[in-house]
Symmetry: C2
Subunit: 213 residues, 2 copies
DNA sequence: GCACAATTCAAACGTTTGTTTTAATTCCTG
DNA sequence: CAGGAATTAAAACAAACGTTTGAATTGTGC
């Protein structure tokens, strides 16, 4: 087994366990054992447990954010060329579509989507600061575009509605692929990704555009 | 200091640290030290760390759920008396209003609202199973009522839209009172609870009622 | 004020944690 | 094929964890 193999195996295993068990609740011994690697390999390749977490996040968050920003910028460009404000639906779709599609276009990325879905809700500083730092730019772009689409809405309302959107999106990201007990005791219905994207976009668009009373 | 004092102080402190640092990431030594209690007091009063978590959850979840169910049942009764299906807005308001108002009507319950907001997203079994067990009934009632309000909507769509709602609500619950870095680096604007309830209810109502395309 | 239960306390238990160390092994280049 | 760098391996480290113990202390009913 070459170096690249070990490094990848540790990353994949860590991604899975961080997503399902949480960062602090997953030990390096669990990860290295499951990855058939030596315990010391983590510190050799990543320096520390926190370094491993950062590597896990960055590996996929970087390309995903690039994808989302491309989509968002395209929406802005289209709108400007047509001399109109961007549509709320187009903005939110540009944010949601790459995120949920990323799951099925990249092997093993289900765990990652669950992980960053959780990271949004994380109150623990280790995970949250790391995550916030790397998603700031994308979120800023999203907020700016929504401001252009809804110029009459106050900054406060805009902020909170964005929180509602992010809450719905990240909760959905966590739930896909993870069995979730719904009231009657059955499991979540199987989710068709395209349908889920459409339903979620529809939902948050209607929410963003709701008339304040 | 009498028994009741120690027990209460441990509960309050545990609630705070569980909410902000998570269950596994908070040690009993941190809690007991902050509560000016002896380490062994936790096992004497609650049996174990998990027992303490359950006590923290139950202390407030029980009355909160009673409150929510009262509101939900009132909505159903009103609708039946008037011979019409319940309105989506009334249902969601009946669920959201007691939850967010609970914060300011009960001293120290801010931490609890943050805690159960996080519990929704929790993938760790210790916390999640405990939580799910005690909120099942309320969620079931909520789902039933939404089904009555939107009889034309399929069970699958209804399920996922409820997930969107719960995502937005729990994310909001986590964010209130917890400083959250928004893109430009500033903090969350101060939230007026009544206004927040209104905005959130408006948002999720519009989302639930959006026409499926 | 005495006796009995309830509670608090300090200390130690055995595990598990992330990390470090040092030696053995593998890999690649000249 | 030799030699130096890169990687893996086993073992030990100190620190922190939840839990248990048994004695000291406090509170309560007679």
């Amino acid at each position: 087994m070459s170096q690249a193999d070990t490094k990848q195996r540790i990353l994949d295993t860590a991604e899975h366990y961080f997503a399902h068990g949480g960062f602090h609740n997953t030990s390096l011994r669990t990860i290295t054992h499951e990855a058939s690697a030596n315990l010391a390999a983590v510190h050799y390749h990543f320096g520390s447990k926190e370094g491993l977490l950062e590597a896990v996040l960055l590996r996929r968050l970087e390309p995903l954010n690039q994808l989302r920003e491309q989509h968002l910028l395209a929406v802005r460009t289209d709108a400007r060329q047509q001399g109109r404000p961007p549509a709320v639906h187009d903005i939110l779709h540009a944010f949601i579509e790459p995120t949920l599609h990323y799951r099925e276009r990249h092997d093993g990325s289900q765990d990652f989507i669950t992980l960053i879905g959780k990271a949004f809700l994380e109150t623990d500083d280790t995970v949250r600061r790391l995550f916030i730092r790397h998603i700031e730019t994308t979120l800023r772009l999203l907020l700016d575009l929504l401001g252009e689409a809804l110029p009459q809405m106050g900054a406060n309302d805009l902020f909170w509605r964005l929180q509602f959107v992010l809450g719905a999106v990240s909760h959905t990201m966590c739930r896909t692929g993870v069995p979730f007990l719904i009231p009657q005791g059955s499991l979540a219905p199987p989710c068709n990704t395209d349908n889920l994207i459409q339903q979620l976009t529809l939902f948050v668009t209607a929410g963003m555009e709701a008339d304040p009373k």
